[in-house]
């Protein structure tokens, strides 16, 4: 169980998240929806303890977990896949279990890392460096690293943004299966509403740093909500097995509400650690 209560994030004078509260069941996959700048990434970072946030986060029991202690049970995958280096793919995977790495890498850890690479179909890339592979492949590598950590909570910031259609489905299926099998709680910030409706057990919809809708996809998604969230007229049709298909039709008036907040780049500056 993940319980979030009274979560607030401020960037200088700008309040980005305002008193958010929700709880998620083990094995569930939740999609986080909302226009750009509504605080989805800040929510994920706040839960992960990467940026300072007020409020309480509890995992498994009702005791709040301090930001410094969250690294062992929470894996956060940032949105950016642009960071390149000459680290090899297998080294990136191994870094997922940083605390288990010593001057010598154990055989069992190597086997586990190779297993996850094979599971993602990346076994041919293991000694390729990050700057030699595509952005989509890098995203797969980082996702494989997040799963390799075997976390209780998996936080994914736009995990399929750089992937082709086939890999979007494969990756989300893999994440969902991982959650079901291991009781992991996954939250993914997403922009593809149809994909979110297909894969997620629950949708949390955000606007101006607040949760405006929360529930199962077929209960929550509606044309007025999409208009409120994105300023878009959309057509919603129930397809095969009742899966919703959302077709955006046209953008309506410019919405001031979703404009990203202005804040200095260096804020927030303080840093929490998982050590």
């Amino acid at each position: 169980m993940l319980k979030v209560s009274g979560l607030c994030v401020d960037y200088g004078p700008v309040s980005v998240l305002k008193d958010l509260a929700f709880s998620l069941e083990p094995g569930s996959f939740t999609a986080l929806l909302g226009a750009n700048g509504t605080g989805k990434s800040s929510l994920l970072k706040g839960i992960a303890g990467i940026i300072p946030a007020k409020g309480e986060i509890s995992i498994s029991n009702d005791l709040p977990v301090m930001p410094q202690q969250r690294g062992s049970s929470i894996a956060y995958m940032p949105q950016d896949t642009g960071a390149t280096s000459s680290l090899t793919v297998i080294e990136v995977i191994l870094l997922g279990r940083l605390r288990s790495l010593g001057l010598q890498v154990s055989q069992s850890l190597q086997t586990a890392a190779s297993g996850i690479l094979t599971g993602f179909g990346l076994q041919t890339l293991e000694t390729r460096t990050l700057d030699e592979i595509s952005g989509g492949q890098r995203q797969l590598v980082y996702l494989a690293q997040s799963l390799f950590r075997n976390p209780k909570i998996l936080l994914l910031d736009e995990p399929t943004a750089a992937l082709d259609l086939r890999h979007q489905l494969i990756v989300l299926d893999r994440v969902v299966n991982h959650c079901r099998k291991n009781g992991t709680i996954a939250i993914a910030a997403m922009h593809d509403l149809s994909l979110a409706a297909k894969c997620a057990d629950r949708l949390i919809c955000m606007s101006q740093g607040k949760i405006v809708a929360d529930g199962a996809p077929d209960k929550v998604l509606s044309a007025p909500l999409i208009r409120k969230l994105y300023g878009v007229e959309a057509d919603i049709v129930a397809g095969h097995k009742g899966v919703l298909h959302i077709t955006p039709l046209k953008a309506v008036e410019t919405r001031q509400a979703s404009a990203p907040p202005k804040y200095r780049r260096s804020e927030p500056r303080e840093e929490w650690s998982g050590e």
Binding site: S72, L87, G96, R99, L103, G115, E126, G274, E275
Partner: protein, 356 residues
């Protein structure tokens, strides 16, 4: 069943490939170690007095049975301290350079980027100009002043970063400002100095192994040894830093604390190296790049290889400094780039991959 077998075959091939990669990198490390041992023997052999290689080896391996006492004295009191100092300084600057590039995420960073060497030079120039002397230890006045001033520069950048945020950009900005400040102060002292004092200052700034003693070797070597042990414990965290600050943080690393810790170690390594032999440039920039081309970003191998490559270039420069002008020793700081640049260019031209 067949699918499981196929996956297991794939996994075993993957492990094999990773093992092969690590083994190949270990071979590079071992080869560099052998190259360093060979070049060290050459450095001890080269000098005004001609020495037989067998006598030198006997004097090094079995000093008590050395047949010629003159060889023993030349090797152990003159040439070996210089060679050991070259190894220590080269390794210190190589390791300081690779860590500076890692924490600042910048391939152009070196121990000189943040102004420690310029500060050490200013400290040395200041004591030479005013003829200051430490009570009881007059011979160590210049190294102590150089070390102290480098420490002060470290505190300056540290304090600035602490107030404004420990990001790579803030540290580079504060470091470059410190560099220019101490370079200007150095120039001011040179402008004020008499011709004789100026000559002494300039000679110190060039960098020379002639100042090496067993004491200076043990101080620099001690700092190097402790730094390597501390850095080795953080080798995977430093490797993770190359994924960027946010990803490193998401892995549970306190990037802020790690960056400050490494910064202090780098400043100590640099100060320990330059305080005794003067400002020696280029090693801290070139050695990490050579090492990275050979073993990639894995700090378990990158850091030691960077140290060894720094020592190889430094000892190579020491040899060149002795043969370039027969009967005289050209200051080593002048020839480090002369030795290092062709080496780096050859590796860049031979390699097919980008390494940063």
């Amino acid at each position: 069943m067949l699918e499981i077998e196929l996956i297991m075959t794939d996994i075993s091939q993957t492990i094999g490939t990773y093992r092969q990669l690590v083994t190949r990198r270990f071979h590079w490390l071992a080869s560099a170690g052998i190259a360093l041992a060979a070049i060290v023997i050459i450095d001890i052999l080269v000098g005004p007095a001609f020495l037989n290689i067998f006598d030198v080896l006997a004097s090094l391996v079995l000093p008590e049975t050395a047949s010629d006492p003159m060889v023993y004295i030349i090797v152990h009191t003159i040439r070996l301290p210089m060679t050991m100092m070259a190894i220590t300084v080269g390794a210190s600057l190589g390791i300081a350079g690779v860590q500076m590039q890692t924490i600042l995420g910048n391939p152009l960073a070196s121990p000189y980027t943040l102004g420690f060497s310029a500060a050490a030079g200013f400290g040395a120039a200041l004591t030479i100009l005013f003829g200051l002397q430490l009570p009881f230890l007059p011979d160590f006045t210049v190294p102590v002043a150089a070390f102290a001033m480098a420490g002060f520069a470290c505190l300056l950048v540290y304090g600035f970063a602490h107030i404004r945020g420990v990001t790579a950009e803030v540290m580079i900005l504060a470091g470059i400002a410190t560099l220019f400040l101490f370079q200007s102060l150095q120039s001011l002292i040179q402008y004020l100095a008499s011709p004789e004092v100026l000559q002494e200052i300039v000679f110190w700034l060039f960098g020379s192994m002639l100042k090496a003693t067993w004491f200076s070797v043990s101080v620099s070597g001690g700092i190097l040894l402790i730094s390597v042990l501390v850095l080795a414990m953080d080798s995977w965290k430093l490797t993770a830093l190359r994924l960027g600050d946010e990803r490193a943080r998401s892995l549970g690393i306190n990037v802020h604390r790690l960056r400050l810790k490494i910064f202090v170690i780098v400043s100590l390594l640099t100060a320990g190296a330059v305080a005794f032999v003067g400002t020696i440039g280029f090693i801290g920039l070139v050695a990490p790049h050579i090492a990275r081309m050979l073993v990639g970003e894995d700090q378990r191998l990158l850091m030691p290889l960077s140290g060894i490559m720094g020592a190889v270039v430094m000892v190579g420069a020491s040899i060149v400094s002795k043969v370039i002008s027969p009967g005289a020793v050209v200051p080593i700081g002048i020839v480090t780039a002369v030795v290092g640049v062709p080496f780096l260019f050859a590796l860049i031209l031979a390699g097919k991959k980008r390494h940063w």
